[in-house]
Symmetry: C2
Subunit: 191 residues, 2 copies
DNA sequence: TTTAGCCTATCTACTAATTGGTAGGTATTG
DNA sequence: CAATACCTACCAATTAGTAGATAGGCTAAA
C-alpha cells in the first residue's frame, strides 16, 4: 500500500513533470500512461479523476516544501543564510534542469481556469511560503541582521515575487543562469 | 479589412481574455465562438489555425507594448518616473480587473508546451521589455538618478521579475492590492 | 493443507463530449 | 463579377472517465 516506489508515486512524478512543462491543461492521462508504461484505465484506479491526481500531487508538494523550510531553519541560524540557501536550492534545480519551475507558481498563473479543489491547494502553498519568508524577515529585523525599508510582510512578498518572476524570465529567455543573476541582485539588498 | 472594430478584433480580444484566464491550452475555438456570437468555422476564416490566432494576438500585444514604452518616454524625462508610470499602468489593470495578467508572462510559464511559433513571439516580448527596462536603468545611472548596486541589465531583469511575480502573487492569493504592495516596495529601492 | 473469498492492480474495450480543422454552400457588398 | 464573411455539416483525433474481465496475493475457515 505505502510502497515507497509504487506505481502511484511514478504517476505523481510523471504528472508533476508534465505540469511543470505545460500546466494543468497541458497533459492528459494518455501522456502519463505512455511514460509510466501502463494503460490509461490503470491510472484511474490510483487516481479516480484528474482533480484527485493533481490535488494529491500539490498536497505532497506542499508537505515537501514545509519539510524543506524546517530543514533550512535547522541548517542555518541566520535568516539571511536561510534565504540564501532557499534561493540556492532553486538555482540548482533550474540550472541542472531537474525541476525548472515551481509547480504551484505555474498553476497559480492559470488559477482562474483551475478546478476549485486544485486552486485551493495552490493558494495554500503561496500562503505557507509567504508566511515562512515573512517570519524569516521578522527574525532578521529583530536580530538586527536586516535593515528593512518596509514591513517584513512586504519584504517577504517582494522577495517571493522576485524569485517566481526569476523562474519565469529564465524560462522565457531560455537562459537558466538568469535566475542566478536575478536572485543575486535580490540578495545583495540584504547585505 | 482593417475595420477598427471588426470581428477579427473581437476574436482577438476574446482569445486574449481567455488566455489571460487559463493559458494557451485553457481555451478552445468553441469558447470564443460562444462569446463572440459566431460559429466555430467562422473563426477559422479569420485565423486558419489556433497558432495563427495566438501568434497574431501576441504580435499585436508586442506592438502595443512598444508603443506604450514610447509613450512613457514621452510622458516623463526622468527614468524613475517612467518606471513608476509603467508599474502604475499595471496596478490599474490589476486592481480594476480589466487586464489582470500579462498575456506573455502567462504563456511564458507554459513555454515548453507551446507551439514553437507562439513561443518565439513570447520570448521576443520578454526581450523587448528587458531591453527597455535596461535602457531606463542605464539612463538613470548615467544621469545620477539611480545609484545601482549591480549592472543596469541585472537591475532591469530583477525589476521585471518582481513585476511579473507580483502579478502571480496577487492572483494566487486572490489579493489584487498585493501587486501594489510589492511594486511599492520595489520602487522604494530607487529613491 | 486445501479451499474459498476478497482485495489490489492491471488489462481490453468502450463511451460521450470536445478538440482543431475542413468542405462546400449562401448571402452581402464594393 | 468577385471577394468577404458567414453558415451548416462534417471529420479524425483526443479528452476524461466507465464497465467488466483476469490474474495474483493474502487471509481465514474447513
Amino acid at each position: 500500500m505505502s510502497n515507497p516506489s509504487s506505481t502511484a508515486d511514478g504517476i505523481l512524478a510523471c504528472a508533476r513533470a508534465l505540469i511543470i512543462a505545460g500546466g494543468y491543461n497541458g497533459f492528459s492521462y494518455a501522456d502519463i500512461a505512455e511514460v509510466v508504461g501502463i494503460r490509461k484505465a490503470s491510472i484511474h484506479h490510483h487516481f479516480p479523476s484528474k482533480v484527485d491526481l493533481v490535488r494529491a500531487l500539490v498536497l505532497r508538494y506542499r508537505e515537501d516544501a514545509k519539510a524543506g523550510f524546517a530543514a533550512l531553519e535547522r541548517a542555518a541560524d541566520d535568516p539571511r543564510d536561510q534565504l540564501v540557501k532557499y534561493v540556492a536550492y532553486w538555482e540548482k534545480c533550474i540550472t541542472d534542469a531537474s525541476d525548472p519551475f515551481c509547480v504551484c507558481a505555474l498553476m497559480a498563473s492559470e488559477l482562474p481556469a483551475l478546478p476549485p479543489a486544485v486552486a485551493a491547494e495552490v493558494r495554500l502553498h503561496f500562503e505557507t511560503l509567504s508566511a515562512w519568508l515573512t517570519s524569516a524577515f521578522e527574525r532578521g529585523a529583530a536580530s538586527g541582521v536586516f535593515r528593512l525599508s518596509s514591513t517584513p510582510r512586504a519584504e517577504a512578498e517582494t522577495f517571493m515575487a522576485t524569485v517566481h518572476g526569476g523562474m519565469l524570465s529564465a524560462r522565457a529567455l531560455g537562459d537558466p543562469a538568469l535566475f542566478g543573476t536575478i536572485t543575486n541582485s535580490l540578495l545583495n539588498r540584504f547585505q
